[in-house]
């Protein structure tokens, strides 16, 4: 493990450094929450989002998709191959059957340049109680109990010389998009990731190359300077 990714999995313990508050360094977001308060807030958010997300999901299953307003979706296809993952995670069950919002698990997408793979603790939040008898959940629980992170295979990626940020795209297509509802965010995700409601593990179905990006930026009047993406 030396030199690899072992230090990614820092576990909360008493021997932990304490970060400075974000006040000195302008990232735009200032978090000043005590651990206790943040736990209360997290709990309340989880409850609220489950309530809010569950309702439109029912509605959506019945209604036809109207398309994302004020957006010309990017064009381009990619015949992605099936990628064998350590656990065959069923996106379809979570999004289509259970109607869970993409951003419930990929919670970093609206806050950071990366959408982030959900931490195992997030999975266990539900699966310590739900569907515990299923083989895939047993596999997951095994990882969790061994305190071993799941090594997923990467499906979607852009080169290191490309600066792509999920946060900005979600802001433009969802949060600052008049007439667009957060409940239908999966349609925006599908621009680049395809319709995950029809997939188990993710499959690359969009080319994610420069032409694909540029065509969309052209159609939607996105920024066109080289340095916007090639910093």
């Amino acid at each position: 493990m030396s030199g690899g990714y072992c230090f990614l999995f820092r576990q909360a313990s008493s021997v932990a450094p304490v970060p400075v508050t974000w006040a000195h360094r302008g990232r735009g977001v200032h978090y000043f929450v005590t651990p206790l308060l943040s736990r209360v807030i997290t709990f309340a958010l989880v409850l609220a989002s489950l309530l809010v997300l569950a309702l439109p999901a029912w509605a959506e299953n019945g209604a036809t998709t109207k398309g994302v307003p004020n957006v010309v979706p990017p064009k381009g296809e990619h015949a992605g191959k099936h990628v064998e993952q350590p656990i065959e995670f069923p996106h379809d069950i979570h999004t289509k059957v259970n109607g869970i919002n993409c951003m419930y698990c990929h919670t970093y997408a609206r806050r950071s340049k990366v959408a982030g793979i959900p931490p195992t603790s997030k999975c266990m939040g539900c699966h310590s109680m739900i569907a515990t008898d299923k083989p895939r959940i047993k596999q997951l629980t095994e990882y969790w109990e061994k305190r071993e992170p799941v090594k997923w295979k990467k499906v979607h990626d852009v080169p290191d010389f490309v600066h792509f940020t999920h946060e900005k795209h979600l802001k433009r297509f969802v949060f600052d998009n008049e007439g667009m509802s957060v409940d239908r965010v999966s349609e925006v995700c599908a621009f680049c990731h395809g319709d995950l409601k029809q997939m188990t593990v993710a499959n690359k179905v969009k080319p994610l190359n420069m032409g694909f990006c540029v065509r969309c930026h052209e159609a939607n009047k996105g920024p066109f300077d080289c340095w916007k993406c090639h910093k």
Binding site: V18, W22, T120, K151
Partner: protein
């Protein structure tokens, strides 16, 4: 090309096909960087801290370990890796700023040459062993059963402070040893002795911001000084005040500070004391009150008239008078002495002559005021010099040592050849080096314990120069250890447990020791009604704890000044100046590529050593830039490429410290030369510090030449007005009496 029978078209064809060849060959290589799906792994957190957002940095406060100044830092951590260092705005040492050495510290942390496992000498060579085996071997030699006691054991370290220093002292006490050798090449040990004798305080507070003019004798306070970032901030205040402060620098080789000066005065090395006395002479002539000056010193001053001093120092009589006038008229002033004054056999006297100017000018109490002291003297920085290096070499020579622990120092590299340290070390049966890198000292040790990097370890520090507010600065891990090694504090605790089980058994690790030490502080230090955990959390978050600082009073008095007559040396006509620089420092940062790549502030040379000489000297020696110059002292010779610059005295040859490593990893090894190796024997008469600037040398062309790699290959502006200039006459009409 056509001369070889290859035309342009053929050349392009060959180029094209070889490109294909490379591409085809490249297919066989396993790759981990790809856009193809399913090839790379993406690993999520198991259970992240609540504040973690992948892709967004989190800042942690810690303390910089790149020199002994102890600047507070913030480190940006993303996805579990520390990526960027910045200054901690709460620190009263660096006020949120950080120098290039602080920035480059990360390259020490991620350095490919880091030692990953303990090394034990077996049958003559160092072999990788487990920590159990390494500590077992160590316990055999220094544990309770070993019978080792008293001064047969020694610690040899760089500057140490904080709780590590407390535990280190406790370890020495547990073994009954008095031997703690503290060694720093770039130090102000002579200056501290002068201050203690003449002001009653070793480290008073220099109010650069209060001074209207600074006369600095080789004090490189902006570069290789005691606290470069602190003094840069103070210097900025000095420069932006009204009227704008004037800096005059008197030194043999232009330092970074000299490069910033309004007036730079070259001086023959070793004659700074005479120059100071010459200024004193002029001041007395101009009617400065010298009532408190005893008769013998007054006579000494009287004997240094302008003409005599000009002939000794190589400066002009007129210039002395003008500097004196400026000092007198623009009060308060500040006169400083630095390494080039102190590094002679008469360094103490020369620095005392410089300090006397402050007294004559009435600066004591205005620009030199009393510094503060903290309630925790045991945690204050233990500062070193080169005297301890001599003492250590002596102890090793007399076979007085059985076991030595080295930490934060590389004496095998820094010791001049005349000390013969490499040979003398063989007299010490068991040498332990706590080092992250295969440096010269580590590779001559019998056991190498790779400690955690400063970015992985816990600790506390007190900067060597904290004249305003004393702070205990916290060092927090900024990421998980890259290699499964042990922290320095944890090792100290382990050593103490070998001897004093009862006293230390309650501390499971160094973290618990530190937390306990902080939470046990009295309420006056903690401040506010906080629980222990709240106080500890708050302190870690801020990165430092301000402790009550008591400001004392200065007790000025004059001391005896004994300056020898300056003597020419016909056999060795040149003076060797082993200059220090902010960057490679004393050589400890030679393994950091960023600092090798960062050009020297004056010469703009990168990645190598050079011999800096005046154009007149170059003409005298018949050498040009890039020629190798062979510099010979009574201790040996070295060869370095000539760099020609007007910012050096014609009798001086400057070779920078920092290069010439025989070991120390791929970036440092075998690069340039180490001027410390050819330093002549000799030490300051009063303090016993090595006379680093007192070496006489000969120089001759070595008969070979290479292209000298440097930024800004041309010293002139080629007629383009990139930096517009006016004559002194025009300038003085606008702002009188600024240029002397």
């Amino acid at each position: 090309m056509s001369g070889n029978g290859v035309n342009r078209r053929d050349f392009l064809k060959i180029l094209g096909w070889s490109g294909v060849g490379v591409a085809v060959a490249g297919c066989d290589r396993p790759t981990t960087v790809t856009l193809e799906e399913g090839k790379e792994e993406v690993v999520a957190y198991l259970q992240p801290e609540e504040y973690v957002i992948p892709g967004v940095g989190v800042w942690f406060a810690s303390t910089c370990q790149q020199c002994a100044a102890g600047c507070g830092v913030h480190g940006r951590v993303r996805e579990g890796r520390v990526l960027k260092m910045e200054g901690n705005p709460d620190s009263s040492i660096n006020y949120g700023k950080l120098c290039q050495m602080g920035q480059a510290g990360l390259q020490g942390h991620y350095n490919p040459d880091r030692i990953k496992k303990p090394l034990l000498r077996k049958g003559g060579s160092l072999t990788e062993v487990t920590w159990e085996e390494a500590l077992g071997a160590l316990e055999q030699k220094v544990g309770a059963a070993s019978g080792l006691a008293g001064d047969r054991f020694a610690w040899f370290t760089g500057t140490v402070s904080g709780h590590q220093s407390v535990l280190l002292s406790a370890h020495l006490a547990a073994l009954g040893s008095q031997h703690h050798f503290v060694h720093e090449v770039i130090n102000n040990a002579v200056g501290r002795a002068v201050n203690l004798d003449m002001l009653g305080e070793a480290m008073p507070r220099y109010r650069l911001d209060e001074a209207k003019v600074i006369l600095s004798f080789g004090s490189d306070f902006l570069g290789a000084g005691i606290s470069p970032v602190y003094f840069s901030t103070a210097y900025a205040k000095f420069r932006t005040g009204s009227p704008r402060g004037v800096l005059i620098q008197v030194e043999p080789k232009m330092t970074l500070t000299g490069g910033n000066a309004d007036l730079w005065v070259p001086i023959r090395p070793g004659t700074e004391g005479a120059f100071a006395l010459g200024i004193a002479n002029q001041l007395l002539k101009q009617g400065v009150d010298a009532a408190g000056v005893p008769e013998n010193i007054r006579a000494l001053i009287a004997s240094h008239d302008a003409e005599k001093v000009a002939s000794i120092t190589g400066s002009s009589a007129d210039r002395l008078a003008r500097i004196a006038t400026l000092l007198k008229e623009r009060s308060p002033s500040l006169v400083l002495a630095g390494a080039s004054v102190e590094g002679h056999a008469h360094g103490y006297s020369a620095a005392a002559a410089v300090m006397m100017l402050n007294m004559l000018l009435g600066n004591v109490g205005k620009t030199i005021v009393a510094g503060g002291s903290s309630p925790f003297p045991q945690m204050e920085a233990k500062m070193g010099g080169t005297r301890d290096l001599i003492a250590f070499a002596d102890a090793a020579d007399k076979k007085n040592l059985d076991v030595v622990f080295f930490y934060g120092a590389n004496p095998v590299y820094t010791a001049p050849s005349h000390l013969g340290l490499t040979e003398k070390l063989k007299n010490i049966p068991f040498k332990v080096a706590f080092s992250n890198f295969p440096d010269e000292t580590a590779l001559s040790a019998d056991l190498v314990l790779p400690v955690l990097s400063p970015y992985e370890d816990w600790g506390t520090h007190m900067g060597i120069y904290q004249p305003e507010q004393k702070v205990v600065s916290i060092q927090q891990p900024l990421m998980e250890p890259l290699y499964p090694n042990k922290g320095f504090g944890d090792l100290l605790l382990a050593f103490l447990k070998m001897r004093k089980v009862k006293e230390y058994e309650s501390f499971t690790d160094y973290y618990s020791y530190l937390k306990n030490a902080f939470t046990a502080l009295p309420a006056t230090v903690k401040g506010g009604a906080l629980t222990n955990d709240e106080f500890w959390g708050k302190t870690l978050q801020k990165g430092l704890l301000e402790v009550p600082t008591v400001v004392g009073t200065l007790k000025p008095r004059l001391v005896e000044i004994n300056l020898p007559e300056y003597k020419e040396d016909a056999q060795r006509p040149f003076h060797l100046v082993p200059s220090g620089r902010l960057g490679l420092w004393d050589g400890r940062h030679a393994n950091l590529p960023w600092l090798q790549e960062a050009p020297d502030q004056i010469s703009k040379i990168v990645w190598t050593s050079w011999a800096e000489i005046h154009p007149a000297t170059a003409a005298r020696l018949g050498v040009e830039q890039g020629d190798f110059l062979r510099i010979t002292s009574d201790q040996g010779a070295l060869e370095a490429q000539v760099y020609i610059h007007k910012g050096i005295h014609i009798d001086a040859i400057a070779v920078p410290m920092g290069q010439g490593h025989e070991e120390y990893g791929r970036y440092a090894k075998g690069r340039g030369v180490n001027p410390l190796k050819i330093i002549s024997p000799g030490a300051d008469a009063r303090t016993g510090e090595l006379a680093l600037y007192g070496t006489r040398v000969t120089a001759a062309a070595a008969g070979r030449r290479e292209f000298l790699v440097k930024l800004s290959s041309n010293e002139t502006q080629l007629g383009r007005k990139m930096v517009a200039t006016v004559t002194a006459d025009v300038f003085n009409r606008a702002e009188p009496k600024t240029i002397t």
